[in-house]
């Protein structure tokens, strides 16, 4: 067969395909509530996750607001220290476990993965729906504990504080997170099998979009890491219940062992959060500069390398914990190994942009923000992987700033870029572009204003999780809170205009961005229930813009 393009992509955002509007798509072929709650369609499950996680994000953001409000003044005048501790625990638990970890894989990944590899669905659609219900049940348990009673261990649940000394609802929270872990495992399992077994004919490993590679690497971490945190939390629960001192030195146990087991998962978990946004950014950079990703195989390899390396660096969270100095040096050296593939990614994007045809649609603005914030977040990681400086920075606001740059500046901003990119495919409608760009800029500015001062206050030595603090830290904290307000407005905008656009937005057309992957070229917006009318057969690389914009196809579009 010849390699002709059977459906020319639309060039202009507003161009309409014949058949749009009257067709059957996955949104309108069934509309009852039951058809959503019992759906086996990966696209609908992705949206179910999106809704659930948006609610969680708002809740987590609410707690963040409380924390920032308290920290305007050095004295603990707004709330009691107990409530403050419960607030930052709730903020951490919700944001880490219920937002960041499933954020991109479960929503965007679920929606895009089968579309991108030319499959009708994920390998195990029923399991996919079960994952969502497991997520909801886990969330139910945890929210009852967090809001009903409150937990004040911090999201890290360090022993023996969590096992022996606190009378809050640790057990219920741990149960919720234990259950939640299975959601993550099942999603990862589903994705790996889907990528291995469900690719359409001709979709070789090195013809997959890079987002798929990122999801693959993420799923490996989810599969291999999550079970360890599950059993660790189970041990914490048993220790509370039976009074066995598995982590309590008074009873013969070792609190440092808990940290080892906890970070064996929780450090790789950071890469569960950041790898998928890194993958999404590839799609954005390529599409909006109309260039193939520079050094595709190196980029794919870097994702896998990050996934593997992430498992051998965990003890850098423990340099001051009484870790053996030899182990500290060992883990410090290994920690630098993660920096290399991360750097490769940033350089690769820059090289991709070189001599590109760059358009500044809102997803691209988010991608720019992502690259900038991820660079700062990644580079400040050097201070923390280096032994000599980490001792000073450990457990200060410097760490808080660093991981927010990676987790919020990276993961959330990358997610926002991906969401704005995929939105027309999801709902077939465009959002108001001006508001979207405003939001991207507000988030970037607000974010930096919030978290850059925290680097400085961290270098001054302000410890994290402080309800009260010495006066000299106040100015920087006020800046931070002011920035958080701007950031909040930035987040609020999409919460308003995105739902609005589902009903009132302009029709998007099949391929408003001129992207080249299967999800854009071979499905309608929104896609039909089974994605592809006919199974596509791939014959070339994923990013190739010169054939898409030759004269004939440009003419055919008009």
């Amino acid at each position: 067969m010849s390699t002709i393009i059977t459906s020319a992509p639309a060039l202009a955002p507003a161009s309409k395909e014949p058949g749009q509007g009257g067709g059957v798509d996955y949104l309108n072929h069934e509309t009852s509530i039951a058809s959503w709650l019992l759906t086996l369609d990966h696209k609908r499950i992705g949206i179910l996750y999106l809704v659930a996680m948006s609610a969680m994000f708002v809740l987590g953001g609410f707690y963040a607001g409380l924390i920032r409000a308290e920290l305007i003044t050095p004295k603990g005048d707004l709330m009691s220290s107990d409530f403050y501790n419960k607030s930052f625990t709730a903020h951490g638990v919700i944001m880490v476990f219920f937002v960041l970890i499933p954020l991109v894989p479960a929503s965007l990944g679920n929606f895009m993965l089968p579309l991108m590899i030319g499959a009708k669905d994920v390998a195990f659609p029923r399991l996919n729906l079960i994952s969502w219900y497991v997520y909801m049940i886990g969330a139910g348990f945890t929210l009852v504990a967090l809001i009903g009673g409150g937990v004040d261990t911090g999201w890290t649940f360090y022993t023996p504080l969590s096992t022996t000394y606190l009378n809050s609802n640790v057990l219920l929270t741990a149960t919720g997170l234990f259950i939640l872990g299975f959601s993550s495992i099942l999603t990862g399992l589903n994705f790996i099998v889907t990528i291995h077994r469900m690719r359409c004919p001709g979709m070789d490993w090195f013809r997959m979009p890079l987002f798929v590679w990122a999801l693959y690497a993420t799923s490996v971490i989810q599969l291999l890491g999550t079970p360890v945190i599950a059993i660790t939390l189970a041990l914490v629960g048993v220790e509370r219940l039976l009074g066995v001192g598995i982590f309590d030195p008074r009873l013969g146990g070792d609190p440092i062992l808990y940290q080892h087991l906890f970070w064996f998962y929780s450090h790789p978990a950071v890469y569960i959060m950041i790898l998928p946004p890194l993958g999404v950014t590839n799609e954005l950079i390529s599409t909006f500069s109309r260039k193939p990703i520079f050094g595709y195989s190196m980029m794919a390899g870097a994702s896998l390398a990050i996934a593997i390396f992430s498992f051998i660096v965990w003890a850098h969270h423990m340099f001051t914990s009484g870790l053996s100095p030899y182990a500290a040096m060992f883990f410090s050296l290994l920690t630098f190994s993660v920096a290399i593939p991360s750097g490769i990614k940033v350089f690769t994007w820059l090289a991709t942009l070189f001599r590109g045809s760059i358009s500044f649609d809102s997803p691209m603005l988010y991608a720019y923000g992502f690259i900038g914030l991820f660079t700062i977040g990644g580079m400040t990681g050097l201070f923390l992987s280096t032994l000599g400086t980490d001792i000073h920075f450990h457990d200060t606001y410097f760490v808080v700033a660093h991981f927010h740059y990676v987790m919020v500046g990276g993961a959330i901003v990358g997610f926002m870029g991906g969401l704005h990119f995929i939105w027309p495919k999801m709902f077939g409608r465009m959002y108001p572009e001006f508001l979207a760009r405003m939001s991207a800029i507000l988030i970037f500015v607000g974010f930096n204003l919030t978290f850059f001062p925290q680097f400085l206050v961290g270098y001054l030595g302000m410890p994290r999780r402080y309800h009260e603090y010495p006066n000299e830290f106040q100015v920087l904290n006020v800046f931070s809170t002011a920035g958080a307000t701007v950031l909040g407005v930035g987040y609020l905008l999409p919460l308003l205009y995105l739902p609005w656009s589902v009903f009132f937005g302009e029709k998007a057309g099949r391929n408003p961005w001129g992207a080249t992957t299967l999800d854009w070229t071979h499905t309608e917006s929104p896609p039909t229930p089974h994605n592809f009318e006919e199974t596509p057969v791939v014959t070339g690389e994923p990013y190739k813009y010169d054939t898409l914009f030759n004269k004939e196809s440009a003419l055919a579009g008009h």
């Binding site: 220290s81 501790n85 440092i256 001051t320 201070f383 280096t386 032994l387 400086t389």
Partner: protein, 341 residues
């Protein structure tokens, strides 16, 4: 009052080392960030989309560039790592002539004990230019002892000792923070360290003078009936403790002992502590397993008293072990020694 510092005071010998490394990484950060942001802006200006159907040249990669941006960061990382280890070595290895101070963390206060027996809560005093070694532990949960102005920090871990040292280079009063979240009043677990001249320090010490730690420990040594077996010359029941500190002890590895053949242990504070809490853990060569010595757990010897006992053992010179008097009775393996008042 709104003062607005962005640079913490630099008041110890290690602080400049940490700062130099910090500044080096800051420079790397600025360089890399400037490079990335600069290129982003530059490319945006040069290559923005001028026409809807514009198609740029399609590059697929360059081996040379890719090797370059893998190799150069690797080299930079190795330099930073090596420098980091060098500074870390300064941070973890105290000078031999350091003054010992013992720190016990508990919810939510820091308790300090000086060799002379002086005690303080949430406060510490040090002499300008004299190295101090802190031996830190916790009575309950994890804490972390941090003095930002000195760039030092160490967790307080229940059940074992960690150490930290500093040599102040500037007189003044500096913050002590607890940086490991430890429960409700975590943010109130703070204190002040006062660095003073030698003369002022001696004056302060004498005002606070109590019985010395070692002297207190000597009393405990008799009260807990340690002296019954650790009797100096006669080593039939237990090894002599004279000048044992920082000696390398060959361990018993005959039948039943939990250590590997040929193993030795350094008799540092952690070993002394372990041998009091769990006598059978590592038995000196020549003594049988399990130990006939009762285990002195937290209900018999508090963490404070443990420091006093260890201070005493460290101070024991040849021939100084007191002789047992007629009132001391032998502790039995099952029962505890008589309860403390």
């Amino acid at each position: 009052m709104w003062d607005f510092p962005i640079w913490p005071e630099s008041a110890s010998t290690v602080a400049p080392s940490v700062e130099a490394l910090y500044l080096f990484i800051v420079a790397l950060n600025i360089g890399m960030t400037a490079l990335v942001f600069g290129l982003l802006v530059l490319f945006s200006v040069l290559y923005y989309r001028r026409a809807d159907d514009q198609v740029p040249p399609q590059y697929h990669g360059s081996m040379l560039l890719e090797i370059g941006w893998t190799a150069i960061p690797t080299v930079i990382c190795l330099i930073v790592f090596a420098w980091g280890v060098k500074v870390y070595a300064e941070l973890v290895v105290p000078p031999a002539d350091s003054m010992d101070v013992y720190i016990v963390g508990r919810q939510w206060m820091w308790k300090a004990q000086y060799p002379g027996g002086q005690r303080e809560i949430n406060a510490l005093h040090a002499v300008l230019g004299k190295p101090v070694k802190l031996t830190i532990t916790s009575e309950d949960v994890l804490h972390s002892f941090s003095i930002p102005a000195f760039r030092v920090k160490s967790d307080a871990v229940p059940g074992r000792y960690t150490t930290l040292w500093f040599q102040p280079t500037q007189a003044g009063v500096y913050h002590i923070f607890c940086t490991e979240y430890c429960g409700t009043e975590h943010s109130r677990m703070i204190g002040k360290i006062t660095v003073m001249e030698e003369g002022d320090y001696q004056k302060w010490l004498s005002e606070k003078a109590e019985l010395g730690d070692a002297l207190q420990g000597r009393k405990l040594f008799a009260k807990l009936q340690c002296v019954t077996c650790h009797a100096g010359e006669s080593q039939a029941r237990a090894p002599s403790l004279e000048e044992i500190h920082m000696k390398r002890i060959p361990l018993s590895f005959d039948k039943g002992s939990p250590v590997a053949p040929g193993a030795t242990v350094l008799a540092d504070e952690n070993y002394l502590r372990e041998s009091i809490r769990y006598p059978s853990a590592k038995i000196a060569a020549g003594y049988q397993y399990p130990s006939i010595m009762p285990a002195y757990d937290e209900s018999l010897v508090s963490e404070d008293e443990m420091f006093q006992l260890i201070a005493y053992i460290k101070s024991l010179k040849k021939g100084q072990t007191p002789t047992r008097n007629e009132h001391t009775t032998t502790p039995t393996a099952l029962g505890a020694p008589a309860g403390r008042p």
